[in-house]
């Protein structure tokens, strides 16, 4: 375990910032090699974006089924200490490593005492749109983040709390504590890994697509929740009126390859998640028409092209076109102006009853706020040697992996997370003093 050397101080080998799939994999590999890891996560649960996905391409594995074992392994690993609901204030080179300031935000729930029973949640009278479901479902003002969350510990959303005290009365372990204060901890680590992930480009970024004000124009991640067995409605319904959609459109590159949005790069996953969702939708809504409007289908990964061709043969409609604008009709249906880039190149007005914007990926956090690394124009961490050593930044001992470096899919993220673990492990050995403990070094 990372050791608490004094009140508010922790010594560890590696600080990993962000507990999505990249951070989890990096932490697990480092810990399995014998290194102590402090894994900090901004959200109230570990698991990142992947735990909210429905199924993953191209295997169609249930995402939560393959993510929860990783979450659980990290949470139970002897050498991994996990802090959720924790922000990183600063990371500075110091001595032979780094000194970081982290702040554990108050959950207003004593983590030791909370047994995850949700009695507080049932007692709470306040309903709040649930971020985990893209705001499509609701949660209470005190809540367990989601069913498969780790830790299974409640958190009070103070801005939405009306301080009625019902949760306090309901809690069997007196875990609710409104007097909790932020706890600042100084972390001394020999290396730091940034796995701060991504956030989706906002669905409201484009005026032409309704600027986020049309309720039946949703983002790709929202559709992930609708398609999840534990999603907000338990089935695919359109948000405005709960109607079962019959004619769904996907608009590709809605937030990528678009210089007007400041996101000229390809987000790399949107083609595949749209194809996957279309396949899932054609399974759950067999009579629905599904059309994907695209520029190029970028099915470049292992097994992806075959996956795309399967989708085509299933009758999913792929149309090379640009969607110029989306208008909402009074009945909630949507008029799309579509500029075909095939056939005769005509401009068509078509109607769909649900539109999914295949939103792209932007950096999950502004890492320059706390770490002395350089980033590219879009905020992704820059590699010091992109071809040969992609996970090294320009600061020795400071590494990055996953979508903190650039958009990428799960498999490439997982490989990069293991790669960063290797680079860090080698770095730790190379920088160990003779008297120091050589952690994880082979004999002979």
């Amino acid at each position: 375990m990372s050791e608490r050397t004094a009140a508010g101080e922790i010594d560890t080998d590696v600080l990993v910032v962000g507990a999505g799939i990249a951070g989890l994999q990096a932490a697990l590999d480092l810990a399995d090699q014998g290194n102590r890891v402090l894994l900090v996560e901004r959200e109230a649960s570990i698991g990142g974006r992947m735990i909210a996905l429905s199924k993953v391409f191209p295997t169609m594995d249930c995402s939560s089924c393959i993510t929860t074992p990783k979450m659980s392994s990290a949470a139970h690993h002897e050498l991994v200490t996990t802090f959720t609901y924790t922000d990183v204030g600063s990371v500075e080179p110091a001595g032979r490593g780094f000194e970081a300031t982290i702040v554990r935000r108050p959950r207003y729930v004593d983590e030791e005492a909370c047994i995850g029973c949700r009695l507080c949640e049932y007692a709470c009278p306040v309903d709040v749109p649930h971020e985990f479901d893209g705001g499509l479902g609701a949660r209470r003002a005190v809540y367990i983040p989601f069913g498969t969350a780790i830790p299974q510990k409640a958190v009070v959303d103070l801005p939405n709390c009306i301080l009625c005290g019902k949760c306090e009365k309901a809690c069997p372990t007196d875990a609710i504590d409104f007097l909790q204060e932020p706890e600042t901890i100084t972390v001394r680590a020999r290396a730091v890994v940034l796995t701060t992930g991504y956030r989706p480009t906002p669905t409201g970024a484009k005026k032409e697509y309704g600027a986020g004000r049309i309720s039946n124009v949703i983002g790709g991640l929202d559709m992930e929740r609708l398609l999840s067995p534990n999603g907000p409605y338990g089935r695919v319904l359109r948000p405005s009126d709960g109607k079962v959609p019959e004619n769904i459109a996907y608009v590709q590159c809605a937030g990528s390859r678009d210089e007007t949005l400041g996101v000229p790069y390809c987000s790399r996953v949107c083609c595949m998640y749209a194809v996957k969702q279309a396949m899932l939708l054609s399974g759950s809504l067999p009579v629905a028409d599904i059309t994907i409007y695209y520029m190029d289908i970028r099915a470049f990964g292992k097994g992806y092209e075959e996956f795309f061709q399967t989708a085509r043969s299933m009758g999913i409609n792929f149309v090379k076109a640009k969607v110029a604008r989306i208008h909402e009709r009074p009945d909630g249906d949507l008029d799309l102006r579509v500029e075909l880039e095939e056939d005769d190149g005509r401009v068509e007005d078509v109607t769909h009853d649900l539109v999914v914007l295949s939103v792209g990926l932007q950096p999950g956090d502004d890492v320059r706020r706390f770490a002395p690394v350089s980033t590219d124009a879009y905020g992704f961490v820059r590699s010091a040697d992109p071809a040969l050593d992609a996970t090294a930044t320009d600061v020795p001992g400071l590494f990055a992996a996953g979508t903190a470096l650039a958009p990428k899919d799960i498999v490439d993220t997982v490989a990069e997370a293991s790669a960063v673990a290797m680079r860090v492990a080698a770095y730790l050995r190379e920088t160990a003093t003779p008297a120091g403990e050589l952690v994880g070094v082979a004999h002979g």
Partner: protein
């Protein structure tokens, strides 16, 4: 009073078992005569184990596998083939084959679990104890369980 009936669920550790936990977390009701036994993979149970269950007070068995999501290569195909053989043996013993159901339940498939186990419970309620069916059939000599 009618004798109690009991349902056994053989739940894959990676998929169905957490899915059944999630069902409880969501406070979704399902029949309380359901007993869940976790297993790395239901492919491990030999044919006789199912019959042993029916002979010893189990009236319905739900195999809650990972389906083709199984982490073990080809296990679902092996399992499905085995269950067909169990069906044949059940028929020989006079057991209604609806007492055995092979399903795939994922780790968040709460509603699917409630439906499957509910359907099986209805079948069992309709059929009554397995022992009654077995009693109607002449005894078969020799069993493999020890």
């Amino acid at each position: 009073m009618a004798p109690p009936t009991r349902i056994l669920v053989l739940a894959s550790l990676l998929c169905a078992y957490p899915g059944i936990d999630a069902t409880g977390q969501a406070h979704l009701d399902y029949p309380a005569n359901t007993y869940v036994l976790p297993t790395p993979d239901p492919v491990m149970f030999p044919e006789w184990f199912y019959l042993y269950g029916y002979e010893h007070g189990i009236d319905g068995i739900l195999i809650a596998s990972c389906g083709t999501d199984s982490p073990y290569e080809g296990s679902y195909e092996q399992l499905a083939a085995r269950i067909n053989r169990v069906y044949a043996q059940m028929k020989e013993r006079g057991l209604d084959i609806r007492r055995l159901k092979l399903t795939a339940i994922c780790s968040v498939c709460t509603k699917a679990f409630v439906k499957e186990v509910g359907d099986l419970a209805k079948v069992v309620e309709e059929l009554g104890p397995a022992a009654d069916e077995l009693a109607r059939q002449p005894a078969v000599v020799g069993g493999e369980a020890s």
